[in-house]
């Protein structure tokens, strides 16, 4: 199953820029301006939300094209996931 799984990951990876074809946000995941326009105000909890500054916000890496950013983001995600499992296996199993 391992080989087939890797094939499946590779296949989806190749086509991942298709995910960029739409600019529509997910329902309920709007920019704050959307609330301003729709309601006339931004709910204070949303306006004052404290969030960490993500190093690669919205899967966009500054200075590179959207497509390349998306590929690199997908790659980074995969590497981090395998890294976490490797860490768990090596460190926690001892």
């Amino acid at each position: 199953m391992k080989k087939k799984l890797y094939m499946l990951v590779a296949l989806l990876f190749v086509f991942v820029p298709l995910g960029l074809l739409t600019n529509s946000p997910a329902w309920g995941e709007w920019e704050n301006e959307h609330y301003q326009k729709l309601l006339g105000y931004i709910p204070s909890g949303i306006a004052n939300a404290k969030s960490l500054d993500a190093p690669i916000p919205d899967y966009a890496i500054g200075g590179t094209s959207q497509t390349l950013s998306y590929y690199l983001s997908a790659l980074l995600g995969i590497v981090l996931l395998f890294g976490i499992y490797y860490f768990l296996l090596k460190v926690l199993k001892k």
Partner: protein, 210 residues
């Protein structure tokens, strides 16, 4: 379905963490038991699939988009606890590195997309296993169940947390939220999750067992 920071009231955040933390502890124990040199590539690749599949944003009528989650596939190939922990890790990376979802809402997102998705998908799969379309039905049910949880968490915000008639957090009422979220997942993203689960399951199970 990734709830961002600022959308849930503090009591909701505390309640979701209070439920999620014990479940994460149980899940990590189960993962530790199953994780070895042989299963690591499989669990890693399945988590990678979930990460990538969530990057395929699919537009739907009404100006919004959504995506599959991939939790059910992991749940039916391994077990629902592994599905829960893998997708939780995916959500953690999305929140910390890509600003997708939030830190205060990580527990809420993990409970809906990872926990409820995995377990509902798993038990539905067990119930309809003998039918040809079992993986499709499981995938569809899992993600629709996830959307029900998200709709509930968001929809109760304006009921309990408003000031001077203005909601403090997520502003839309339960009915609107329920129709928009559960409706779109039942009609569109559930179908995508179902097809993904079915095709991947068939492909991976062909002529070999886990």
């Amino acid at each position: 379905m990734h709830i961002p920071d600022g959308y849930l009231s503090v009591p909701t955040v505390i309640a979701t963490y209070a439920v999620a933390i014990p479940l994460w502890i149980i899940g990590f124990k189960k993962l530790k038991k199953r994780l070895n040199e042989e299963t690591l590539p499989l669990i890693g690749a399945l988590s990678a699939l979930s990460f990538i599949v969530m990057m395929f944003n699919i537009p739907i009528p009404g100006g919004t988009s959504g995506h599959a989650v991939g939790a059910v596939l992991i749940a039916i190939l391994f077990n629902p606890w592994i599905g829960f922990i893998s997708v939780s890790l995916v959500l953690l990376i999305q929140a910390l590195v890509f600003g997708d979802g939030g830190i205060s809402t990580l527990a809420a997102n993990a409970l809906s997309m990872a926990f409820v998705g995995s377990f509902v998908g798993y038990y539905i799969f067990k119930a309809v296993k003998k039918y040809k379309f079992a993986p499709f039905i499981a995938g569809w049910s899992g993600i629709v169940a996830s959307s029900v949880i998200v709709a509930l968490l968001l929809g109760i915000q304006p009921i309990f947390w408003s000031e001077g008639g203005h909601p403090l957090y997520f502003p839309f009422d339960l009915k609107t939220t329920f129709i928009a979220l559960v409706g779109s997942h039942a009609l569109f993203f559930g179908v995508v999750e179902g097809i993904f689960t079915m095709l991947a399951y068939r492909f991976l199970q062909k002529r070999e067992m886990v």
